[in-house]
Amino acid sequence: MGERSERTTRVSRASTVLNEQLRDAREQSAASREILAALGRAGADPEAILDTILERAAHLCRAQAATLYIPEGDVFRLSRDTGKIPEEFRKLLLDQPLARNRSSTVGRAAEEMRTIQIPDVFNDAEYGRKDLQSLAGYRTLLSTPMILQNEVVGVLSMWRTNVKPFNPRECELLEEFAVQGAIVMRQDSLRRALTSKVDQLEALREVGDTVGSTLDLDEVLEQIVNNAVRLTKTDGGSIMEYDESTDSFHVRAAYGSSAELLKQLLATTIDRRTTLVGRAATARRPLEVPDLAETELDPHLEALFGDGWRSVLAVPILRGDRILGVLVIRRRSIGSFGPHVELLETFAGQSALAIVNARLFGELQTKTKELEIASHHKSEFLASMSHELRTPLNAVIGFSEVLLDRMFGEINERQDEYLRDIWNSGRHLLELLNEILDLSKVEAGQMVLEPTPFSVGSALDYCLAMVRERATLHAITVTVDVADGIDTIEADELRFKQVVLNLVTNAVKFTPDGGGVSVRASREGTDLIVTVADTGIGVPVEDQERIFESFQQGRRGAPKEEGTGLGLTLSRRIVWLWGGRIWLQSAPGNGSTFGFSIPGVLQADSEPASPAGEDLPAMLLVDDDRASLDLNSAYLDGLPARVLRAKDGIEALESVRRERPAAVVLEVGLPRLDGWQVLAELKADPATTAIPVVIATDVDDRSRGLSLGADAYLRKPIRREDLLEALRQVGAL
């Protein structure tokens, strides 16, 4: 072989090497282009790109395998690989991931933040993962860190199964791929962070909804554990509820746990002082065990370890100073829960809320039941007592009546007087019994109204007939006046008569000889108004509220008084039962006028309402919500005012023009014509501009109200004092 041929061979070799290098460069640049193009595409699948990177790297560097490791706490887990890797290798890595230390090229690359090569693992004294090596059979290892903002976000690694170190160009190539991989990882981690944030918020909202909407504690807690496990990508968890009486915890909800494990957990006493769960609760902070194999196991952890669990986090569920329970999250692999703790603490907070809610509800239910039972007992007692007392009273009243009626012969004047005393006392006791029974029925919610059609005039006549004898005896004039158009109404006749009779009996009782009692029935819209006016001594203002309470006869101090002290209380309760109001207008020396209403029993009347309560100032309540009208009406109960109602803006304007009320209490949101328009019209009309308007609304726009001329502005919910104060301020009371 000549010199030439030798040179030719050399040239040809050089040219072959050059050609190879050229081909490599071309492939490399093609791979880079491909990767960069994929990166630029919206919606590119980052996992696919990472797979491409691994595959190209292995191919271009002539490695048997390329792998990507992702840090998790202090260890690196295998994230992706080029395949062709023994399953046992993967399994072992899952169980014992690579440590961030010198025992592997991955650990070293991460620690030193540079490319690390082990030319032959058999000749590296520090190499510590011979267990892995024996499964994969590699000899030469190359690893390079993927670095973002000075942080290792992953490690790219390659191996060869023969001893053949990677040359500098191949090292460079891997480094270049690592840069590209890091970009993919960043994009992916941003996307993941966003998705997981959205997931977290969604889950928290879901849990919040459940906590707010269901009182089934088990359902809520199960949902919490479920979401907590899902969002932290862990494998299972449970909520342990704390039992103060035994100072220990028991499973209340679980997720990702086998029936076998649950059975075991249920049988395990999780003591507060000696378990991880207990210590977390006592310390009031999350505690974790990253590897159950390397810790002393309490009975709870022992059950978990025996079932194949490897790492556990316990987050206390606290409410103020109290321990409610512990949220336990676990994995089948080892590792810290570091980044998830904050989220899990939020879940623990939600659990606390759910537990507290459920307990309060439970207590409320128990209390309610107890009260119901107590109330039932009370009603039963009163009913039976009433019966037991009536039977002997029957004899007292009956026998005295027999003697008074001279059925068995004449009696003298003194005997007659004493018998009358016996008879009167008996009747009084009986009345008292009846009222106590009625009142207890109202209070127990057992009084049911039985509406039937009846004539108002006849019912009033009936009541007056009952007191006429006594009135005549004291020369008291009794008159009744039923306004035109009031005839038959549908209401509970018995209760109507009971209230009227109570009022007229009182009126006659407290009117001095020669005085007068007048009963009037009139209308207010569709409400029936009954007033009973007397010329008695009147009721001082300070007693006017008290007089409606049990056993308060005020200081009316009639000499012959004998009431039960329950009549007005009972009357008021009955009137409330049909949704009406009862009131008193009185001044000492000027007599008293008691009145009550039955709402909605009269036909709507287009005629101007006859002035009821005559000189009483009218308050017009305008609201489309019946409950608000009722409430505000009730607030005005007992005040010297008559209440008018309107349910929409048009009706309100008509009512104001017809009735000229002392004040208008106006909601803003109204059908037909809204409150702003009503206000504006009233203030624009010289005839109505002086009528004070109190806005009472849930609309928050005080400045608009005041600028339109409202005299006061109240936000719902409105308290009685607020309404009365406003009406006083605008001069309506």
Binding site: A383, S386, H387, R390, T391, P392, L393, N394, A395, I397, G398, F399, E401, V402, D405, M407, F408, G426, L430, N434, E450, L494
Partner: protein, 129 residues
């Protein structure tokens, strides 16, 4: 004309005595019983023209006593009037449903009682105020 016979079933002896005395002085022949069972026996021996019956009785109550009375010798036209201290509308209804011809509320008015009995006997059930 023979006096009409009224059976009074009432467990309280004082009330029984009161009703008996008032009815007797008004010219009725009064027979009495202090329980439902006794009422059934007495009614069998001396068929009454009218029965006044307390609703709350020891042993079988007024409603059951009425049922057995109607099954036995008591003619369908003999009025049976309930007497009770339970002044509730639903009790009145229950009494009507059980087949009583009328209802007197305790305390009975001794002044009104003879007139009320007369009205029931004449087939004009009085209306209890």
């Amino acid at each position: 004309m023979t006096a009409r016979r009224v059976l009074v079933v009432e467990d309280n002896p004082l009330n029984l005595k009161l009703i008996r005395d008032v009815l007797q002085i008004s010219g009725y022949d009064v027979i009495e019983a202090q329980s439902g069972e006794e009422g059934l026996r007495v009614a069998q021996q001396n068929p009454p023209d009218l029965v006044l019956m307390d609703l709350q009785l020891p042993g079988i109550d007024g409603t059951e006593t009425l049922r057995r009375l109607r099954q036995g010798t008591l003619g369908p036209n003999v009025p049976v009037v309930a007497v009770t201290a339970l002044a509730m509308a639903e009790d009145k209804e229950a009494a009507a449903r059980a087949g009583f011809d009328g209802y007197l509320e305790k305390p009975i008015s001794v002044r009104a009682l003879p007139g009320q009995i007369e009205a029931f006997l004449a087939g004009r059930p009085s209306v209890q105020p």
